[in-house]
Amino acid sequence: MLRGRRRMECTLDAQSLISISLRKIHSSRTQRGGIKLHKNLLVSYVLRNARQLYLSERYAELYRRQQHYPDGAPLLAMPACPPPAAAPPELAVLPLPADTQDREARSCAAARGGAELLEVPVCAAPPELQRAPCRDSSPGFYRAAGSAGPGGGGGGGSSAPPGLLYAAGCDFGSGGAPHCSSRTTVLDLDTHVVTTVENGYLHQDCCSQCPCCCQPAPGLASPPPTPGTKRKYYPGQEEEEEEEGVEEGEPGGGGGVAGGPPFAPCTKRARFEEYSAEHPQDSSNISNLISIFGSGFTGLVSRQQADSEQPLNGQLCSKQALASLGAWTRAIVAF
């Protein structure tokens, strides 16, 4: 807590805000009295705001790199973005670098900002960057793959620029995706079987066919469960929180989760340098955790556990995985 005389200065750094917010959400789970819905909702708004800024800046950086390396094509799929005029005014003045592409990025991001939490900003770049169009053409989709060592961009011999990997195509319940929309996940306390039902289809069926949902980066997550099977729940393992009527949508391991290559800081690090020097682990944590959360509010509250099936990088992630095991093994919110 702030003591009397300490100066109240703070860097408005998107990355540190994200990290602080995630820490708050994590610690709220262990607080007495249970999760405070109101506080977590507010934190999720900050997270969304910071993430939009962070991602749009990353996107802008990627675009610049594309300009320099036209042949080292990453798998970039960016559907055409809605016209900037669609941006709701409330997000128009986020402090972002004054750069035409960035402004486009911002407005595209803002177009989906609206009332939805953690919307993935899409299409920050002009159409020239469209390579492999995604099968899911919903605007909620963004996918890029990259690999690079932690040392910096381009390290490790890969010509692909560093990038983020996450599949947010199945924007759960956000109305963007044609599938994976309304879900019901139920934990049967008697048989301990978790079932996710998706518009009448088992989620595993649905997602296994969709590359946007389930395709991880090379060397990443385990393949999605066999279609048609139910996941068996074992007490003591990491478990997702189940809520009736609440979207669960385990993206079958394709959540772009963090077993994969650590996120490499981009070369344009002026703003972040100070921060990452102090917290070298956190930059990889952040991209991993961003991918874990994907979209949606419930993800904040429960998803950390759900995706900790994957080995996570960084102290923060592993601490979370370990610390919350006991509390969540039998969690079910009754309505």
Binding site: R3, E9, L17, K36, L37, L42, G173, F297
Partner: protein, 447 residues
């Protein structure tokens, strides 16, 4: 209003302070709610440890005409205990979130107190007589050997030292999945509402096994959750009308005659956001932490992180008055987010005539805004101003630039010392201000 004032300006004097003196605050002693009863004779506080302490004002002493009666402890009882929800592996805090008094109908007093999940109706009654002279029992209660009883006598009531007893008369439980943030007694004095993050329930004071859900904003898909209910209150005169505020800065007024489920509001009060003030934390600071009707019922007041707004119930588009509580914090939101202060829920209150509103701030400061003169004052609740009848010196925070003498710079403010709960006597100029673990009572200077 500030400093030497004209005829109508109130000069606030320290009257009393209750609570531990030492700086080491025991968590259970943290005051979580303060409420005067309808006459102002009783003042109740609830704390994080689940206890309720009620103070009673002394009858005015004719010889001491310079001050009103002091408030002394009348009753203390444990209202709520910590509980454990085994199904969800959750501990339920015993912290008292709200206390609301019922109007007095007979010799006893009644109040509702609530924690996160359970509301209780408490009866506080006085006992000043006790039966003595039992035939078959000794005075200490042991039964006498029947063979030693040779005479017959009837017990009689004899005076005793006043004893104040608190007993739970009703327990209203298991109706809230989320954390209860408000309770409000209807003007019919038969029903009351309780509100949690997503739902509002209507109860009858006599019936504990049933409540009616009147508002439900839980989305079918929790992923779509965008706002929660932050406070709710019944209209002081219209028993069919209530309002609830949201984390998005809106207030909805509902009429229970319109339909059984009041998900559709009758009025929506919302002020458009100023785009030039947009920041990462816009959503947090626009969340409303308290809503209070004026005594007249014509206005309502809302408190968000930086301001107090007065709304005319007849105008939904914007508030009629806005008062900045501590605008100098706007540039510090990032730090306040880091240390969690940005989530502090400040309450606000009206004076008896609805002419002045009061709310708390940091550094043990509290603020009053006079709606007629448009003047405001900042005062401090501190043991340093301990002498009764000493007029409190107004405080000033220096936002930037050169700090004048007696001003305090923003960076020197102690953000651990926050005043979240304040209450104003319904009839007199007596205020109760709660710091972290102390209760201060201030009165206006009587001449």
């Amino acid at each position: 209003f500030s400093g030497a004032g004209g005829g109508n300006d109130i000069q606030w004097c320290f009257s009393q302070v209750k609570g531990a003196v030492d700086d080491d605050v025991a968590e259970a002693d943290i005051i979580s709610t303060v409420e005067f009863n309808h006459s102002g004779e009783l003042l109740a506080t609830g704390d994080k440890g689940g206890r309720v302490v009620i103070f009673q004002q002394e009858q005015e002493n004719k010889t001491q005409s310079h001050s009103r009666g002091e408030y002394n402890v009348y009753s203390t009882f444990q209202s709520h205990e910590p509980e454990f929800d085994y199904l969800k592996s959750l501990e339920i805090e015993e912290k008292i979130n709200k206390i609301r008094w019922l109007p007095q109908k007979n010799a006893a007093q009644f109040l509702l107190s609530t924690n996160d999940k359970t509301i209780k109706l408490w009866k506080i009654s006085e006992r000043d007589k006790r039966p003595e002279g039992y035939n078959l029992k000794e005075e200490d209660g042991r039964y006498r050997d029947p063979t030693t009883v040779t005479t017959l006598r009837v017990p009689v009531f004899r005076p005793m030292d006043l004893m104040v007893e608190a007993s739970p008369r009703r327990i209203f439980a298991n109706a809230h999945t989320y954390h209860i943030n408000s309770i409000s007694i209807n003007s019919d004095y038969e029903t009351y509402l309780s509100a949690d993050d997503l739902r509002i329930n209507l109860w009858h004071l006599e019936i504990t096994d049933r409540s009616f859900n009147i508002v439900d904003i839980k989305p079918a898909n929790m992923e779509e959750l965008t706002e929660v209910i932050t406070a709710a209150e019944f209209h002081p005169n219209s028993c069919n009308t209530f309002v609830y505020s949201s984390s998005k800065g809106t207030i909805r007024l509902c009429d229970m005659r319109a339909s059984a489920l009041c998900d559709r509001h009758s009025k929506l009060f919302e002020e458009p956001e100023d785009p030039s003030n947009r920041s990462f934390f816009s959503e947090i600071i626009s969340s409303i932490s308290d809503v209070k009707f004026s005594h007249s019922g014509r206005y309502m007041m809302t408190r968000d992180y930086l301001s107090v707004k007065i709304w005319d119930l007849n105008m939904e588009t914007r508030p009629v008055e806005t008062y900045q509580v501590h605008e100098y914090l706007r540039s510090k939101l990032c730090s306040l987010y880091e240390n969690d202060c940005i989530f502090d829920k400040f309450e606000c209150c009206w004076n008896g005539s609805d002419s002045i509103v009061m709310t708390g701030s940091y550094n043990n400061f509290f603020r009053m805004f006079d709606r007629n003169t448009k003047r405001d004052i900042t005062l401090e609740a501190s043991r340093e101003n301990n002498k009764p009848r000493t007029v409190l010196k107004p405080r000033k925070v220096c936002a930037s630039g050169k700090r004048k003498k007696d001003e305090i710079s923003v960076d020197s403010l102690d953000f651990n010392k926050k005043i979240l709960h304040t209450a104003w006597h319904p009839k007199e100029n007596i205020i109760a201000v709660a710091t972290t673990n102390n209760l201060y009572i201030f009165q206006d200077k009587m001449n």
